[in-house]
């Protein structure tokens, strides 16, 4: 007689709501396209798409709400009683809330764009929701099995999304490259997990930490393979070559989604693994992260300077940002981990905002992606030009924006821990980044408009996304000035959230 396991469904409430949302979207799409009449009225394709977006928004809002409630209560709920598998504590609640928010904004961003490019199939939202559910599993995982499942559930829908414009050869190529690199990385990661399991005889992070013998060669190879697998996912140099190709080829709404959320989820999960499972061998891992971080900052920033395609430029910029984030791992203190979480929060808004501008300029014929397409934008579209300038200076880390405060906390944590050399390189990298980010405002404000064909006006939802991102970028960057308290969002408040979440790592 086997006892039924004691499970607590509230631990997977956000994941469940998003998964159910995905199923609801798929069913709704089938029923609505079969019989186009609802309540006696004809439904056009745009109404169907809007319905699907509303369904996705509801699912993601429930997920974000449950995660925020979990964060407020401060409870730590494991899915299973003895070996939790998935745990909803403050750390995973923070990451889940952020991921669902970013996914929701991406959904809103896609509505008009998909119709423009004529790829408005309902699966899009279902795939987006499923991949979001995978990210939630990934960040909430407390054992290697759930980690691997979460990683695959996150990646597989994104391979499809990258190739969603399937008549477009560049979209095909993007999907193919992402798929090959992604599954190769999962292979390495999986073998790493197998070796760690072989040495310790357990899959649970806490138990692995207790059982990991120091200096065992098999364990070292395993941990190395695991780190390489993650390095592919977060696009750390030298495992970054896929990033620009995939970002460039994928439809720009998908690029917006994956550049933000995948990075969020992969870094949050890496924090969990590195601190939770390898906390006792962390000192030797820090040197590895130090090297990765140095290379990533240098290569990302230098390569970004020679790009002529905005998507590729943002791809190399995301590589560079991965480098800054890896500094937090090289530092390895509680303060640096909370700085990493704060950085992820800020990065989500500024990067999504920058891509949102591109999305709202893209037409059916082609994405707005060549850098010349933006020339003279300030004359034709002053509002969008101003917003893109705001996001560009935030990504460059100029004071008054979240890009600055995030870098400030991260660099300060590194200097406090004595990583002066790496911090100097990072500051130098930020200086280089100012050069290529400011090329965008220069083109928009100081050049004559080109012959580029851009979408004449942005949709309301796109403007909403842009407004929210811009508000977050400014409010989180006002430090040391406090914004009005009724807004509930300020630099110190967000840093406080990051700090309380990071405590749950240890």
């Amino acid at each position: 007689m086997i006892d039924p396991p004691v499970i607590d469904l509230s631990a997977i409430a956000p994941i469940g709501s998003v998964t159910l949302g995905a199923i609801a979207v798929l069913l709704a799409e089938v029923f609505l396209t079969r019989r186009r009449r609802v309540l006696g009225r004809e439904m056009s394709a745009s109404y169907i798409a809007a319905t699907l977006v509303v369904l996705s928004t509801i699912a993601l809002a429930i997920a974000a709400y449950t995660a925020m409630a979990g964060f407020a209560s401060g409870a730590s709920i494991g899915f299973l009683a003895d070996v939790p598998g998935v745990r909803l504590d403050r750390f995973s609640s923070f990451a889940i809330a952020l991921i669902s928010l970013a996914a929701m904004l991406s959904c809103w961003l896609s509505l008009k764009y998909l119709a423009e490019v004529e790829i408005d199939h309902g699966e899009f939202y279902a795939l987006l929701l499923l991949s979001t559910a995978g990210m939630m599993v990934l960040v909430a995982a407390t054992d290697f099995l759930m980690l691997f499942l979460g990683l695959e559930l996150m990646s597989i829908p994104i391979y499809v999304l990258a190739g969603f414009d399937r008549r477009n050869l560049r979209s095909n190529e993007s999907a193919l490259k992402y798929f090959l690199v992604g599954s190769f990385a999962s292979g390495l990661l999986l073998y790493g997990i197998a070796l760690v399991y072989g040495v310790t005889g357990t899959l649970d992070f806490a138990a692995v930490r207790a059982a990991l013998p120091p200096g065992n060669p098999l364990a070292l190879v395993g941990i190395g393979l695991l780190i390489i697998g993650f390095a592919f996912k977060v696009s750390a140099v030298p495992f970054h070559q896929w990033t620009p190709d995939v970002y460039e080829g994928a439809p720009v709404a998908v690029t917006a989604y994956m550049s933000v959320t995948v990075k969020l989820a992969a870094f949050a999960a890496l924090l969990r693994v590195v601190v939770g499972a390898f906390g006792d061998v962390l000192a030797s891992l820090q040197d590895v992260f130090w090297m990765l971080s140095l290379l990533t900052i240098l290569v990302g920033n230098v390569m970004a300077t020679i790009q002529t395609n905005v998507k590729r430029l943002l791809a190399y910029s995301s590589v560079a940002h991965a480098g800054y984030l890896l500094m937090g791992f090289a530092t390895g203190t509680a303060e640096s981990y909370s700085a990493v979480l704060f950085y992820l929060l800020g990065y989500a808004f500024m990067n999504l905002g920058a891509f949102a501008v591109l999305v709202s300029l893209s037409t059916g014929g082609k994405d707005c992606e060549r850098i010349e397409d933006l020339a003279g934008l300030a004359r034709s579209r002053p509002g969008l030009a101003a917003l893109l300038t705001l996001f560009a200076i935030s990504l460059a880390g100029i004071p008054g924006t979240v890009g600055f405060t995030a870098k400030f906390f991260l660099f300060k944590a590194s200097v406090d821990a004595g990583l002066i050399g790496l911090t100097i390189v990072a500051v130098f990298g930020s200086l280089v980044s100012v050069f290529y980010y400011l090329r965008l405002p220069v083109l928009m404000y100081m050049h004559e408009p080109g012959a580029a064909k851009l979408r004449p006006e942005a949709a309301t939802l796109e403007l909403l996304v842009l407004g929210l991102c811009a508000a977050a970028v400014v409010l989180l960057g006002l430090f040391p000035i406090e914004g009005p308290s009724w807004l509930g969002l300020s630099t110190l408040r967000a840093l406080d959230w990051a700090r309380t979440s990071a405590q749950f790592l240890f």
Binding site: F148, L149, L169, L180, S183, L188, Y191, Y197
Partner: protein, 100 residues
Amino acid sequence: MVPLEHVIGLSGLLFVIGTIGALTRRNLIVILMSIELMLNAANLAFVGFARAWGQHDGHIFVLMVIVVAACEVAVGLGIVVALFRNRESVNVEDVSLLKW
């Protein structure tokens, strides 16, 4: 009873063959097969270790990996078919619109 060293040796060999295949071959289908070989090498290692430790975590992991690998192949072949429709080739060197 097969000793653990033999199981892990075979699994390591398969993994290396898979990795080299994935990195050096130019045919998409062969690359896919090489990646499958890497996953199955990990499966073999899991089974071997699970038996050595006398518990079932590794076995369960293998079942999950098999499911995931099936999903991955389904999506991967789908992508290859979509590419083949547009380009009539399964050679990775023909897939080079995006660079630098």
